[in-house]
Symmetry: C2
Subunit: 154 residues, 2 copies
């Protein structure tokens, strides 16, 4: 088992534990969603999660996917990345605020290395505005290497 799949396995167990601890029931649909979230380092949409659940539980409905995603989001086990006019993407592997890099052309989302300066910024903002800062989002928008290459040789 390599480092990546170990991390995925940990995430899966953590999510299961967290749900159980909150008295939530474990259904096969939920377990499948949890596994898919823990397995994929991409940032899936609800529809994409739905598509991946289908082969295993074809009767699963989209509403259930949303239920589970909302549940996990509210427990802090999944990060919701709002793409505005293009719905939301979900990150179950790194369920804490971290910067994303989003391609304006193909909409791919990549994780950026965590920038320690952000914490300083938060306390700076807290001081200057009087807000009690709880959370943040930092997203960079641009063109991914693949789309850049595609532009240069169409």
């Amino acid at each position: 088992m390599d480092i990546t799949s170990a991390a995925q396995s940990v995430r899966f167990s953590t999510m299961v534990q967290k749900l159980k601890a909150c008295g939530q029931r474990m259904t096969p649909q939920r377990l499948t969603v949890l596994r898919i979230l823990a397995e994929s380092s991409e940032h899936l949409s609800a529809e994409q999660v739905y598509a991946r659940v289908q082969p295993e539980y074809p009767m699963t409905s989209l509403a259930t996917i949303y239920n589970t995603l909302t549940l996990l989001r509210d427990m802090g086990e999944v990060i919701e990345i709002d793409m505005g006019h293009d719905g939301c993407r979900y990150d179950g592997l790194h369920p804490f605020p971290h910067p994303h890099v989003i391609c304006l052309q193909c909409n791919i989302i990549t994780d950026a290395a965590n920038l320690p300066a952000l914490d300083d910024m938060a306390s700076q903002v807290q001081q200057s505005t009087g807000f009690q800062i709880i959370n943040h989002r930092l997203d960079f928008f641009g063109i991914c290497p693949e789309c850049q290459a595609r532009q240069n040789q169409p």
Copy 2:
């Protein structure tokens, strides 16, 4: 004329110029929207802009408000702040990326002082991901001073 209203006046003229330069027509509805955007340092929703246009041009439709906001956004004369489940807010006074502080309780949006470190972050991310960075958004979420006070003495 104080500094604030001077800045507002400049923003209004700039937006008018920009639209004209792009061959856009100036209608009373549009001018009203431009003025409202240039006047208000709050971060209005489309519906709020609509409400403020009503007294002057009661026949104006919401679709026209959206038209104008989208036009300005695409020209880079207005910043769109995506609130996810709560629609969008628009900032016509500071039409460049800058950090916002958003209250999770009353949804008020405040501008945070610009953080120069952000530019360093952008080039850092550009280097490590290969993305060509064009834009960014940095939003802090928390509780505003008013809501904090309200919690302590209900």
